[in-house]
Amino acid sequence: MTHPSTTGPAPVLALRDVSKSFGAVRALRDVSLELFPGEVHALAGENGAGKSTLIKTLAGVHRPDTGQVLLDGAPVAFHGPGDARDAGIAVIYQEPTLFPDLSIAENIYMGRRPRRALGRIDHKATHNATAALMERLGVELDPDRPARGLSIADQQIVEIAKALSFDARVLIMDEPTAALTGSEVARLFGVVRTLREQGAAVLFISHRLEEIFEICQRVTTLRDGAWIASEPLDGMTEDDLVRRMVGRDLDELYPKQEVEPGEVALSVRRLTREGVFTDVSFEVRHGEIVGLAGLVGAGRTEVARAIFGIDRWDAGEVSVRGRALVNGAPSTAMSAGLALVPEDRRAQGLVMDMSIERNIGLTGLRTTVKAGLMDRGAERSRSLDWAVRLQVKYARIADTVNTLSGGNQQKVVLAKWLATGPRVLIVDEPTRGIDVGTKAEVHRLLSQLAADGVAVLMISSDLPEILGMADRVLVMHEGRLTAEIPRSDATEETVMAAATGRAAA
């Protein structure tokens, strides 16, 4: 790899020709990477490209089989995450794990709080040190506030502050924006810029290409565990980057087909769940893809849960193809032809310890049955059929789903629900945290389903996805439906205006 030799400072952290294998899987092959002080460096690659292994190698979780980790130019051997942390390397994960009942300050100084005489904890010093960290980050958070109830964005800030309290010089941010709203992302980027100006090196991972171009200066791309390129982002286009990641030109990311809408398939009338959402009415027709946009917390997921029967509604009615659904009964929703691909695939979409075969089979417990007993043959062929149709990449159908990459897990969730032959499909954040190649596949699939007459309701926080795929866009704000925008009028501005409660366009 080449880096302009004119740059003054030496890399603070580097990998040189690092390889790492797990059994027969070569997760990293001769990968090199240099992180310089004062740069935000993107790590790009599809799911399974080796990003996680690389991060874990930098963070001292894995040790390279061959090659070196260099700290300030000198080889080091981390024997665990503690070593890496002491060397000034901190990892900020997508979903931080704070102690909910402790205050922000206590979370940051957990286990090493300033002491006064007789070993008593010095609350005031803890408070002041935390306040100083927040000021350095340019963020207003009360150090004494308990962590419970903090948004994920705020929790990440706390994690970053904690990293600073360890004098971290290298921050590794693993998909920090995946669960953030637009304004939260903007604030996070403000913090990242501040850190950069203070001389920190940041390694930034995101599946959202526009974010990479917004915040990063250089990018290192991995594909199938191999190093592809490290280069400045100046002068690159998103297409260039995608080509590096997938190794070919990608078909259109939003392959939306024009479909003439048919009869009403899903009808929601004045649906209300007290304190969560109010008076929500809309229809989705066969062949339509209807986008449901809004900020996180606007009540979109909650509406989907109520329609499917996970939560009860307090008033209103839902019908699928003219048949009224029973309140709070997913099994009747399923038999009416409704399917829900939930937001959280790891907790809700899949039983992580169960095999691919059995996970897909879970929606067939009523159909792959012979004389009251499981028809194992029918179950296996149903699961295999759908795993193959969705091109799930797996070694054996009996492998547990937690061995799969995120994108393939999402395909299993889709397979599980498409196997029920739904007439109405609700997908909640269908492409969150999955790579751009798989994302295009999911979009093509949704488009094909709509063309086949399935009514699709797509909840997404990814605005380009909504604009690219939806025939109509419904927008929710604070529990109410605030706008219905036809495809021709839907733009980032019109949707965001409705989502933030400004006067609808």
Partner: protein, 324 residues
């Protein structure tokens, strides 16, 4: 990494099964008085109460729940049976009443867990005390022993000079039903899903609460059946019958590789665990080990049975990592 959980489950089943065979062979060879048909029929007969309750308990633990009130339900059934018999009611009427009582006991547990969302461990510790208390109120300190001879003979006798108690045959039928229910029906499949991830099961349209209610009710039913068998087998209905039996049942089920966190295990393993425990208790009795010491052994086994699969899993993980 892929098949660790699977291979671990298989391996632990096999370990327990092999252990059972080793203990049996050892006892045949070296323990005086073990190998004769009469002792073996005692072994089986004394183990049957544990085995009967282990059937629904296995399903319950697989689904991530537990019922510690089973021994008290058994005791209550026995006590009610004794009290009604003292009243002069026909045994043919008493038995269905007692079974119905068991259903009610299980239903109460199930409703408290599913409707109020309380943890089953806490609920059934509560009903453990409550049901036993009711048993004492019903029967006081009486012991009822004069049940009809043909019932007592059935519950304590064996087939000719073989080692097979009469009661073992209906147990085998129940075992077959339970194996099929857990491992070959949609119901059983849903229990594994519920135990592994209740939320994901709910999102797959599985009626989690209904399945749990069914399980608690079945457990109550089987516990009362066990209580009836106990009173007849030992020809004594007392309020404190089967006290502490829940400990043996849970120990045996966990020993058999049913994961306490739910979602894993096989009924074959659980039953192997039951008879391993039964065989050890029998051998200890033959060696004049006191009842108190036997409880200590059961307790130690309980700890080991929770520890064992975890150690096996750790070994599997380490092996998988180092094989790369």
């Amino acid at each position: 990494m892929a098949d660790i959980s699977l291979s671990r489950a298989v391996r632990w089943d096999t370990v327990v099964g092999a252990l059972l065979i080793v203990v049996l062979l050892f006892s045949f060879g070296f323990v005086d008085g073990f190998g004769n048909a009469l002792n073996l029929s005692f072994l089986i007969g004394n183990t049957l109460p544990i085995a009967l309750i282990a059937l629904p308990m296995t399903l319950l633990v697989v689904s991530g729940e537990i019922d510690l009130s089973v021994a008290s339900t058994a005791g209550l059934s026995g006590a009610v049976m004794g009290a009604l018999w003292n009243q002069g009611m026909a045994i043919e009427t008493i038995i269905p009443i007692c079974l119905l009582l068991g259903v009610v006991c299980g239903l109460v547990n199930g409703l408290l867990v599913t409707k109020l969302g309380l943890p089953s461990l806490a609920v059934t510790i509560g009903t453990l005390a409550a049901y036993r208390g009711i048993a004492q109120i019903v029967l006081g300190s009486d012991a009822v022993t004069d049940f009809p001879a043909q019932y007592l003979d059935f519950a304590s006798g064996r087939i000719g000079d073989t080692f097979i108690p009469y009661a073992f045959l209906p147990f085998l039928v129940l075992l077959a039903i339970a194996v099929v229910a857990l491992h070959a029906t949609p119901f059983g499949r849903s229990l594994f899903a519920i135990g592994a991830s209740e939320e994901a099961a709910r999102f797959a349209g599985i009626r989690v609460k209904r399945q749990k209610l069914i399980l608690f009710t079945l457990t109550g039913l089987m516990a009362s059946l066990t209580g009836i068998f106990w009173a007849l087998h030992y020809a004594s209905a007392r309020y404190d019958n089967a006290t502490g039996l829940e400990l043996s049942v849970v120990a045996a089920v966990l020993l058999g590789g049913i994961d306490f966190d739910g979602g894993k295990g096989t009924l074959g393993g659980a039953i192997a665990g039951v008879f391993l425990l039964g065989a050890l208790q029998n051998v200890m009795s033959l060696q004049d080990v006191s009842a108190q010491s036997q409880i200590v052994v059961t307790g130690v086994l309980l700890v080991l049975s929770v520890l064992g699969p975890r150690v096996a899993r750790q070994i599997a993980v380490v092996r998988a990592q180092s094989s790369g």
